[in-house]
């Protein structure tokens, strides 16, 4: 079976669409990219851009849904919700870690 990625780590189906473009990077951003993916900066940039574009699509969808419902997105409420969600994520993560530790002992 043909591997899904080429030697550069990019999806094989995009191999013929690869575009080389020189983009000046801020030194701090470059250092962070090297830290994240020391052997393949292009892949790190591609992954980050894919995530950012996906988030943009989701954000656009949320705004369109709000428009269709005739409601306004309250950024203060969003910040409060983010804090509440974060508290839940931390509680669940702690419980899962405790459970894993107990399993390891048993």
């Amino acid at each position: 079976m043909e591997p899904e990625q080429n030697r550069g780590g990019r999806p094989r189906r995009y191999a013929r669409r690869t575009v080389a473009k020189s983009v000046p990077l801020d030194p701090a951003i470059y250092d962070e990219l090297v830290r994240r993916s020391p052997n393949n900066i292009s892949r790190a940039v591609n992954d980050l851009l894919a995530d950012a574009l996906e988030q943009d699509k989701v954000r656009e969808a949320v705004h369109e849904m709000a428009r269709l419902l005739d409601v306004e997105i309250d950024t203060d409420v969003s910040a409060k919700a983010a804090a509440e969600f974060e508290a839940i994520f931390q509680r669940v993560e702690r419980r899962r870690a405790d459970r894993a530790a107990r399993s390891a002992v048993a």
């Binding site: 995530d51 996906e54 988030q55 699509k57 989701v58 954000r59 656009e60 969808a61 949320v62 369109e64 849904m65 269709l68 419902l69 409601v71 997105i73 309250d74 409420v77 969003s78 409060k80 919700a81 983010a82 509440e84 969600f85 974060e86 839940i88 994520f89 509680r91 669940v92 993560e93 419980r95 899962r96 459970r99």
Partner: protein, 141 residues
């Protein structure tokens, strides 16, 4: 029913759902479209449905997982006492959504069927928000 997984996107989470929920949502939307008072209302409902599935990621299940979901639902129904006062047992749709929750290791489940998911996923650790609580968090009253 929508589940939130632990991938850090907007609000530190990603909205994920199952194919079974997509079908349920399509049925509700289709039912509304037939009764909508005007073509303007119909267009809005159809547009909302489309945007919803841009905002929510559909998680595909592998064939063995689909089979396991159906078997899990059967086990839960058998475990329910014959004289149970519960109005309903878990549905296949609940079972499939539960497997999505397990697959993505979701931290939060948004659903009003808490007891069903507790029975379907006794070994999973997650927290549940009712639809009302989720809407309150989103600032919708």
């Amino acid at each position: 029913m929508v589940v939130l997984d632990a991938l850090p996107v907007q609000l530190g989470a990603t909205l994920v759902t199952s194919g079974a929920v997509v079908v349920e949502a399509a049925q509700h939307t289709s039912s509304y479209l037939r009764q909508a008072p005007s073509s303007w209302e119909r267009d809005r409902a159809a547009a909302f449905f489309s945007w919803f599935f841009v905002a929510v990621r559909l998680h595909e299940l592998a064939a063995p997982t689909v089979l396991a979901a159906v078997e899990n639902v059967s086990r839960c129904r058998q475990d329910m006492a014959p004289g149970s006062r519960r109005r309903s047992a878990p549905t296949v749709s609940d079972g499939l959504t539960a497997e999505v929750l397990r697959d993505v290791q979701a931290a939060i489940l948004i659903s009003d069927d808490g007891k069903d998911f507790g029975a379907l996923l006794p070994d999973c650790d997650f927290e549940q928000l009712s639809v009302t609580e989720a809407l309150r968090l989103a600032g919708a009253g």
